[in-house]
Protein backbone atom coordinates (compact mmCIF):
# COMPACT_ATOMS: atom_id res chain seq x y z
CA UNK A 1 0.00 0.00 0.00
CA UNK A 2 1.41 3.29 -1.01
CA UNK A 3 -0.31 6.47 0.15
CA UNK A 4 0.26 9.49 -2.02
CA UNK A 5 -0.38 12.81 -0.33
CA UNK A 6 -2.03 15.55 -2.42
CA UNK A 7 0.04 18.34 -3.96
CA UNK A 8 -1.17 21.07 -1.59
CA UNK A 9 0.13 19.02 1.33
CA UNK A 10 3.70 19.37 0.06
CA UNK A 11 3.13 22.97 -1.03
CA UNK A 12 2.11 23.86 2.53
CA UNK A 13 5.49 22.60 3.65
CA UNK A 14 7.18 25.50 1.91
CA UNK A 15 7.47 28.39 4.40
CA UNK A 16 7.13 31.01 1.69
CA UNK A 17 4.06 29.37 0.18
CA UNK A 18 2.55 28.98 3.67
CA UNK A 19 3.18 32.64 4.44
CA UNK A 20 1.54 33.84 1.23
CA UNK A 21 -1.35 31.37 1.42
CA UNK A 22 -2.28 32.28 5.02
CA UNK A 23 -1.83 35.96 4.19
CA UNK A 24 -4.53 35.61 1.53
CA UNK A 25 -6.86 33.72 3.90
CA UNK A 26 -6.46 36.00 6.94
CA UNK A 27 -8.80 38.88 5.96
CA UNK A 28 -11.61 36.46 5.05
CA UNK A 29 -11.38 34.57 8.32
CA UNK A 30 -11.11 37.82 10.31
CA UNK A 31 -14.26 39.22 8.69
CA UNK A 32 -16.12 35.93 9.20
CA UNK A 33 -15.03 35.75 12.85
CA UNK A 34 -16.19 39.29 13.64
CA UNK A 35 -19.53 38.88 11.87
CA UNK A 36 -20.30 35.44 13.31
CA UNK A 37 -19.28 36.35 16.87
CA UNK A 38 -21.32 39.57 16.78
CA UNK A 39 -24.43 37.85 15.40
CA UNK A 40 -24.05 34.88 17.74
CA UNK A 41 -23.54 37.02 20.86
CA UNK A 42 -26.51 39.30 20.23
CA UNK A 43 -28.72 36.41 19.11
CA UNK A 44 -27.78 34.22 22.05
CA UNK A 45 -27.86 36.87 24.77
CA UNK A 46 -30.86 38.91 23.62
CA UNK A 47 -33.10 36.98 21.25
CA UNK A 48 -32.79 33.33 22.25
CA UNK A 49 -35.46 32.28 24.76
CA UNK A 50 -34.59 31.70 28.41
CA UNK A 51 -34.47 28.14 29.73
CA UNK A 52 -37.51 26.78 31.61
CA UNK A 53 -35.37 25.66 34.56
CA UNK A 54 -32.27 27.82 34.64
CA UNK A 55 -33.76 31.04 33.30
CA UNK A 56 -31.23 33.46 31.89
CA UNK A 57 -28.20 31.90 33.53
CA UNK A 58 -28.19 29.18 30.86
CA UNK A 59 -27.10 31.82 28.32
CA UNK A 60 -23.48 31.29 29.37
CA UNK A 61 -23.78 28.13 27.25
CA UNK A 62 -23.10 30.39 24.24
CA UNK A 63 -19.54 30.88 25.49
CA UNK A 64 -18.99 27.75 27.55
CA UNK A 65 -19.83 25.19 24.86
CA UNK A 66 -17.89 26.80 21.97
CA UNK A 67 -14.82 27.30 24.15
CA UNK A 68 -14.96 23.71 25.42
CA UNK A 69 -15.31 22.34 21.88
CA UNK A 70 -12.54 24.54 20.59
CA UNK A 71 -10.16 23.70 23.45
CA UNK A 72 -10.44 20.03 22.46
CA UNK A 73 -10.29 20.57 18.68
CA UNK A 74 -7.23 22.76 19.16
CA UNK A 75 -5.53 19.97 21.11
CA UNK A 76 -6.31 17.45 18.36
CA UNK A 77 -4.95 19.85 15.76
CA UNK A 78 -1.78 20.32 17.81
CA UNK A 79 -1.26 16.54 18.11
CA UNK A 80 -1.98 15.84 14.43
CA UNK A 81 0.33 18.68 13.34
CA UNK A 82 2.99 17.27 15.68
CA UNK A 83 2.58 13.81 14.11
CA UNK A 84 2.89 15.25 10.59
CA UNK A 85 6.01 17.09 11.72
CA UNK A 86 7.50 13.88 13.10
CA UNK A 87 6.61 11.67 10.12
CA UNK A 88 7.37 14.01 7.23
CA UNK A 89 9.99 16.10 9.06
CA UNK A 90 7.92 19.13 8.08
CA UNK A 91 8.94 22.28 9.92
CA UNK A 92 5.72 24.14 9.16
CA UNK A 93 3.74 21.43 10.94
CA UNK A 94 5.80 22.03 14.10
CA UNK A 95 5.28 25.78 13.72
CA UNK A 96 1.50 25.21 13.59
CA UNK A 97 1.62 22.82 16.57
CA UNK A 98 3.62 25.34 18.57
CA UNK A 99 1.14 28.09 17.72
CA UNK A 100 -1.77 25.92 18.92
CA UNK A 101 -0.53 25.48 22.51
CA UNK A 102 -0.95 28.99 23.99
CA UNK A 103 -4.27 29.50 22.17
CA UNK A 104 -5.59 26.19 23.42
CA UNK A 105 -4.44 26.94 26.97
CA UNK A 106 -6.28 30.28 27.01
CA UNK A 107 -9.44 28.73 25.62
CA UNK A 108 -9.29 25.87 28.14
CA UNK A 109 -9.06 28.50 30.92
CA UNK A 110 -12.11 30.20 29.42
CA UNK A 111 -14.02 26.91 29.32
CA UNK A 112 -13.15 26.13 32.96
CA UNK A 113 -13.95 29.67 34.14
CA UNK A 114 -17.32 29.90 32.38
CA UNK A 115 -18.10 26.40 33.66
CA UNK A 116 -17.39 27.48 37.24
CA UNK A 117 -19.50 30.62 36.84
CA UNK A 118 -22.31 28.49 35.46
CA UNK A 119 -21.92 25.80 38.11
CA UNK A 120 -22.35 28.09 41.09
CA UNK A 121 -25.97 29.15 40.44
CA UNK A 122 -27.18 25.89 38.87
CA UNK A 123 -25.39 23.13 40.79
CA UNK A 124 -24.57 25.09 43.93
CA UNK A 125 -20.77 24.69 43.62
CA UNK A 126 -17.99 26.43 41.70
CA UNK A 127 -16.01 23.24 41.34
CA UNK A 128 -16.59 19.53 41.84
CA UNK A 129 -13.99 16.83 41.25
CA UNK A 130 -16.13 14.90 38.82
CA UNK A 131 -14.66 13.10 35.83
CA UNK A 132 -15.61 15.68 33.19
CA UNK A 133 -14.28 18.68 35.09
CA UNK A 134 -11.10 16.91 36.15
CA UNK A 135 -10.36 15.70 32.61
CA UNK A 136 -10.81 19.26 31.33
CA UNK A 137 -8.37 20.50 33.98
CA UNK A 138 -5.91 17.80 32.85
CA UNK A 139 -6.26 19.20 29.31
CA UNK A 140 -5.23 22.64 30.58
CA UNK A 141 -2.22 21.10 32.37
CA UNK A 142 -1.26 19.26 29.16
CA UNK A 143 -1.27 22.56 27.28
CA UNK A 144 0.86 24.16 29.99
CA UNK A 145 3.20 21.14 29.90
CA UNK A 146 3.57 21.43 26.11
CA UNK A 147 4.39 25.15 26.39
CA UNK A 148 6.89 24.55 29.20
CA UNK A 149 8.60 21.65 27.43
CA UNK A 150 8.80 23.59 24.18
CA UNK A 151 10.61 26.46 25.87
CA UNK A 152 12.92 24.19 27.88
CA UNK A 153 15.09 23.36 24.85
CA UNK A 154 17.67 25.61 23.25
CA UNK A 155 17.61 23.60 20.06
CA UNK A 156 14.38 24.21 18.08
CA UNK A 157 14.43 20.79 16.38
CA UNK A 158 14.64 18.86 19.68
CA UNK A 159 11.99 21.09 21.23
CA UNK A 160 9.65 20.39 18.30
CA UNK A 161 10.13 16.64 18.55
CA UNK A 162 9.71 16.47 22.32
CA UNK A 163 6.54 18.57 22.36
CA UNK A 164 5.07 16.58 19.47
CA UNK A 165 5.58 13.34 21.40
CA UNK A 166 4.07 14.85 24.57
CA UNK A 167 1.02 16.15 22.74
CA UNK A 168 0.53 12.76 21.06
CA UNK A 169 0.67 10.99 24.43
CA UNK A 170 -1.84 13.48 25.85
CA UNK A 171 -4.24 12.77 22.99
CA UNK A 172 -5.65 9.93 25.12
CA UNK A 173 -7.35 12.59 27.27
CA UNK A 174 -9.66 13.74 24.45
CA UNK A 175 -11.93 10.66 24.36
CA UNK A 176 -11.84 10.65 28.17
CA UNK A 177 -13.26 14.19 28.23
CA UNK A 178 -15.87 13.29 25.64
CA UNK A 179 -17.10 10.05 27.21
CA UNK A 180 -16.51 10.88 30.91
CA UNK A 181 -20.19 11.79 31.32
CA UNK A 182 -21.23 8.39 29.96
CA UNK A 183 -18.64 6.11 31.58
CA UNK A 184 -19.00 7.43 35.11
CA UNK A 185 -21.52 9.10 37.40
CA UNK A 186 -20.82 12.79 37.08
CA UNK A 187 -22.43 16.04 38.14
CA UNK A 188 -21.93 17.39 34.62
CA UNK A 189 -24.88 16.54 32.40
CA UNK A 190 -24.43 14.39 29.28
CA UNK A 191 -24.05 15.93 25.82
CA UNK A 192 -26.97 17.93 24.44
CA UNK A 193 -25.76 17.41 20.89
CA UNK A 194 -24.98 14.00 19.44
CA UNK A 195 -24.40 12.91 15.88
CA UNK A 196 -27.13 10.29 15.91
CA UNK A 197 -29.96 12.04 17.73
CA UNK A 198 -31.89 15.27 17.47
CA UNK A 199 -30.46 17.99 19.74
CA UNK A 200 -32.14 18.16 23.15
CA UNK A 201 -32.78 21.83 22.52
CA UNK A 202 -35.12 23.72 20.14
CA UNK A 203 -33.66 25.40 17.01
CA UNK A 204 -34.13 28.94 18.39
CA UNK A 205 -31.67 27.93 21.12
CA UNK A 206 -29.13 25.88 19.16
CA UNK A 207 -28.91 28.08 16.07
CA UNK A 208 -27.15 30.96 17.86
CA UNK A 209 -24.95 28.32 19.51
CA UNK A 210 -23.96 26.95 16.10
CA UNK A 211 -23.15 30.50 14.92
CA UNK A 212 -20.99 30.99 18.03
CA UNK A 213 -19.14 27.71 17.46
CA UNK A 214 -18.39 28.66 13.85
CA UNK A 215 -17.32 32.13 15.00
CA UNK A 216 -14.98 30.61 17.60
CA UNK A 217 -13.42 28.37 14.91
CA UNK A 218 -12.87 31.36 12.59
CA UNK A 219 -11.37 33.33 15.46
CA UNK A 220 -9.10 30.38 16.23
CA UNK A 221 -8.01 30.22 12.56
CA UNK A 222 -7.16 33.93 12.61
CA UNK A 223 -5.10 33.75 15.81
CA UNK A 224 -3.43 30.49 14.77
CA UNK A 225 -2.41 31.79 11.34
CA UNK A 226 -1.16 35.08 12.79
CA UNK A 227 0.99 33.30 15.38
CA UNK A 228 2.29 30.77 12.84
CA UNK A 229 3.18 33.52 10.34
CA UNK A 230 5.26 35.40 12.89
CA UNK A 231 6.99 32.15 13.88
CA UNK A 232 7.72 31.39 10.20
CA UNK A 233 9.31 34.82 9.73
CA UNK A 234 11.37 34.30 12.88
CA UNK A 235 12.60 30.87 11.82
CA UNK A 236 13.30 31.85 8.20
CA UNK A 237 14.79 35.24 8.99
CA UNK A 238 17.97 34.46 7.07
CA UNK A 239 16.17 33.64 3.81
CA UNK A 240 15.82 36.17 1.00
CA UNK A 241 12.05 36.19 0.77
CA UNK A 242 11.72 37.09 4.47
CA UNK A 243 14.18 39.95 4.03
CA UNK A 244 12.03 41.21 1.14
CA UNK A 245 8.85 40.91 3.26
CA UNK A 246 10.47 42.88 6.07
CA UNK A 247 11.73 45.56 3.70
CA UNK A 248 8.28 45.99 2.22
CA UNK A 249 7.00 47.19 5.62
Amino acid sequence: MNIKMPRWFYQLASPKWFYEFTGALLPWFSAAAIILLLIGTVWGLVFAPADYQQGNSFRIIYIHVPSSILAQSCYMMMAVAGAIGLIWRMKIAHVVAGACAPIGASIAVMSLATGAIWGKPTWGAWWVWDARLTAMLVLLFLYIGVIALNSAFDNKASADKATAVLSLVGLVNIPIIKYSVEWWNTLHQPATFTVTEKPAMPPEMWMPLLVMVLGFYCFFAVVLMSRARIEVLEREKRSDWVKRVIQAY
Binding site: D51, Y52, I87, L168, L171, I176, W184, L187, Q189
Partner: protein, 145 residues
Protein backbone atom coordinates in the same frame (compact mmCIF):
# COMPACT_ATOMS: atom_id res chain seq x y z
CA UNK B 1 5.06 7.56 1.58
CA UNK B 2 8.64 6.42 1.86
CA UNK B 3 9.44 3.35 4.00
CA UNK B 4 11.10 5.63 6.54
CA UNK B 5 7.98 7.74 6.92
CA UNK B 6 5.82 4.63 7.13
CA UNK B 7 8.01 3.36 9.96
CA UNK B 8 7.71 6.66 11.80
CA UNK B 9 3.94 6.61 11.26
CA UNK B 10 3.66 3.14 12.78
CA UNK B 11 5.82 4.16 15.76
CA UNK B 12 3.52 7.12 16.38
CA UNK B 13 0.37 5.01 16.03
CA UNK B 14 1.90 2.51 18.45
CA UNK B 15 2.67 5.30 20.91
CA UNK B 16 -0.88 6.72 20.75
CA UNK B 17 -2.67 3.38 21.02
CA UNK B 18 -0.21 2.11 23.62
CA UNK B 19 -0.90 5.03 25.95
CA UNK B 20 -4.63 4.70 25.24
CA UNK B 21 -4.47 1.03 26.29
CA UNK B 22 -2.51 1.76 29.48
CA UNK B 23 -4.70 4.69 30.50
CA UNK B 24 -7.81 2.70 29.58
CA UNK B 25 -6.81 -0.18 31.87
CA UNK B 26 -5.95 2.18 34.74
CA UNK B 27 -9.28 3.99 34.33
CA UNK B 28 -11.12 0.66 34.21
CA UNK B 29 -9.54 -0.53 37.45
CA UNK B 30 -10.17 2.82 39.15
CA UNK B 31 -13.69 3.35 37.81
CA UNK B 32 -15.23 2.84 41.26
CA UNK B 33 -13.23 5.80 42.55
CA UNK B 34 -13.89 8.00 39.54
CA UNK B 35 -17.66 7.80 40.00
CA UNK B 36 -18.71 11.00 41.71
CA UNK B 37 -21.60 9.49 43.66
CA UNK B 38 -23.33 6.27 44.68
CA UNK B 39 -26.81 5.59 43.40
CA UNK B 40 -29.49 4.85 45.99
CA UNK B 41 -29.55 1.19 44.89
CA UNK B 42 -25.81 0.89 45.49
CA UNK B 43 -26.33 2.29 48.99
CA UNK B 44 -29.28 -0.02 49.67
CA UNK B 45 -27.27 -3.04 48.49
CA UNK B 46 -24.38 -2.11 50.76
CA UNK B 47 -21.90 -1.23 48.00
CA UNK B 48 -21.20 2.16 49.55
CA UNK B 49 -18.82 2.23 52.54
CA UNK B 50 -20.70 2.56 55.85
CA UNK B 51 -19.73 5.39 58.20
CA UNK B 52 -17.54 7.11 55.60
CA UNK B 53 -18.34 10.41 53.93
CA UNK B 54 -19.89 9.59 50.58
CA UNK B 55 -21.98 11.26 47.95
CA UNK B 56 -25.43 9.93 47.18
CA UNK B 57 -27.22 10.80 43.95
CA UNK B 58 -30.84 10.40 42.89
CA UNK B 59 -34.11 12.08 41.99
CA UNK B 60 -36.03 13.95 44.67
CA UNK B 61 -39.23 11.95 45.29
CA UNK B 62 -42.46 13.85 44.58
CA UNK B 63 -44.16 14.99 47.79
CA UNK B 64 -41.31 13.86 50.04
CA UNK B 65 -39.94 17.31 50.93
CA UNK B 66 -40.61 18.23 54.58
CA UNK B 67 -39.32 21.58 55.75
CA UNK B 68 -38.91 22.46 59.39
CA UNK B 69 -40.91 25.54 60.40
CA UNK B 70 -38.31 27.07 62.73
CA UNK B 71 -34.98 26.25 61.03
CA UNK B 72 -33.40 25.60 57.64
CA UNK B 73 -33.64 21.87 58.22
CA UNK B 74 -35.21 19.96 55.36
CA UNK B 75 -35.89 16.28 54.87
CA UNK B 76 -36.56 14.59 51.56
CA UNK B 77 -36.22 11.23 49.86
CA UNK B 78 -34.12 10.50 46.77
CA UNK B 79 -34.60 7.54 44.49
CA UNK B 80 -33.24 5.88 41.37
CA UNK B 81 -36.72 4.36 40.90
CA UNK B 82 -35.64 1.15 42.65
CA UNK B 83 -34.55 2.11 46.15
CA UNK B 84 -35.17 5.21 48.24
CA UNK B 85 -32.86 6.95 50.68
CA UNK B 86 -34.06 9.58 53.15
CA UNK B 87 -31.81 12.65 53.27
CA UNK B 88 -31.65 15.31 55.97
CA UNK B 89 -29.97 18.63 55.29
CA UNK B 90 -29.66 21.94 57.09
CA UNK B 91 -28.85 24.91 54.92
CA UNK B 92 -29.71 26.68 51.71
CA UNK B 93 -30.64 24.44 48.82
CA UNK B 94 -29.54 25.32 45.25
CA UNK B 95 -32.06 27.15 43.06
CA UNK B 96 -32.66 24.12 40.88
CA UNK B 97 -33.66 21.96 43.88
CA UNK B 98 -37.23 20.75 43.38
CA UNK B 99 -39.29 17.59 43.25
CA UNK B 100 -38.25 15.31 40.41
CA UNK B 101 -34.85 17.02 40.12
CA UNK B 102 -31.65 14.98 40.20
CA UNK B 103 -29.45 15.95 43.14
CA UNK B 104 -26.18 14.86 44.71
CA UNK B 105 -25.87 14.99 48.49
CA UNK B 106 -22.59 14.67 50.36
CA UNK B 107 -22.59 13.32 53.89
CA UNK B 108 -22.85 10.20 56.06
CA UNK B 109 -25.41 7.53 56.84
CA UNK B 110 -26.51 7.75 60.48
CA UNK B 111 -27.58 4.84 62.72
CA UNK B 112 -31.24 5.25 61.75
CA UNK B 113 -30.40 4.83 58.06
CA UNK B 114 -30.99 8.49 57.32
CA UNK B 115 -28.41 10.21 55.12
CA UNK B 116 -27.13 13.29 56.94
CA UNK B 117 -26.01 15.64 54.18
CA UNK B 118 -23.78 18.67 54.65
CA UNK B 119 -23.85 19.67 50.99
CA UNK B 120 -26.57 19.34 48.36
CA UNK B 121 -25.80 19.94 44.68
CA UNK B 122 -28.44 20.05 41.96
CA UNK B 123 -27.80 18.08 38.80
CA UNK B 124 -29.44 19.29 35.64
CA UNK B 125 -30.02 17.27 32.52
CA UNK B 126 -28.98 17.95 28.94
CA UNK B 127 -32.42 19.21 27.89
CA UNK B 128 -33.02 22.89 27.40
CA UNK B 129 -36.30 24.51 26.34
CA UNK B 130 -38.12 27.81 26.55
CA UNK B 131 -40.61 28.10 29.46
CA UNK B 132 -43.64 28.16 27.14
CA UNK B 133 -42.71 24.81 25.59
CA UNK B 134 -42.09 23.28 29.00
CA UNK B 135 -45.52 24.54 30.11
CA UNK B 136 -47.33 23.13 27.07
CA UNK B 137 -45.52 19.78 27.44
CA UNK B 138 -46.66 19.62 31.05
CA UNK B 139 -50.26 20.30 30.06
CA UNK B 140 -50.14 17.60 27.39
CA UNK B 141 -48.77 15.09 29.89
CA UNK B 142 -51.54 15.96 32.32
CA UNK B 143 -54.26 15.61 29.67
CA UNK B 144 -52.89 12.15 28.85
CA UNK B 145 -53.19 11.18 32.50
Amino acid sequence: MTPKRKKRLSIILGLVFGTALIVGLVMFSLSENINLFYSTSQIAQGEAPVGARIRAGGMVVDGSIKRSTDSLKVQFAITDYEHQVIVEFTGILPDLFREGQGIIAQGKMDAQGIFQADEVLAKHDENYMPPEIAESMKQKQESVK
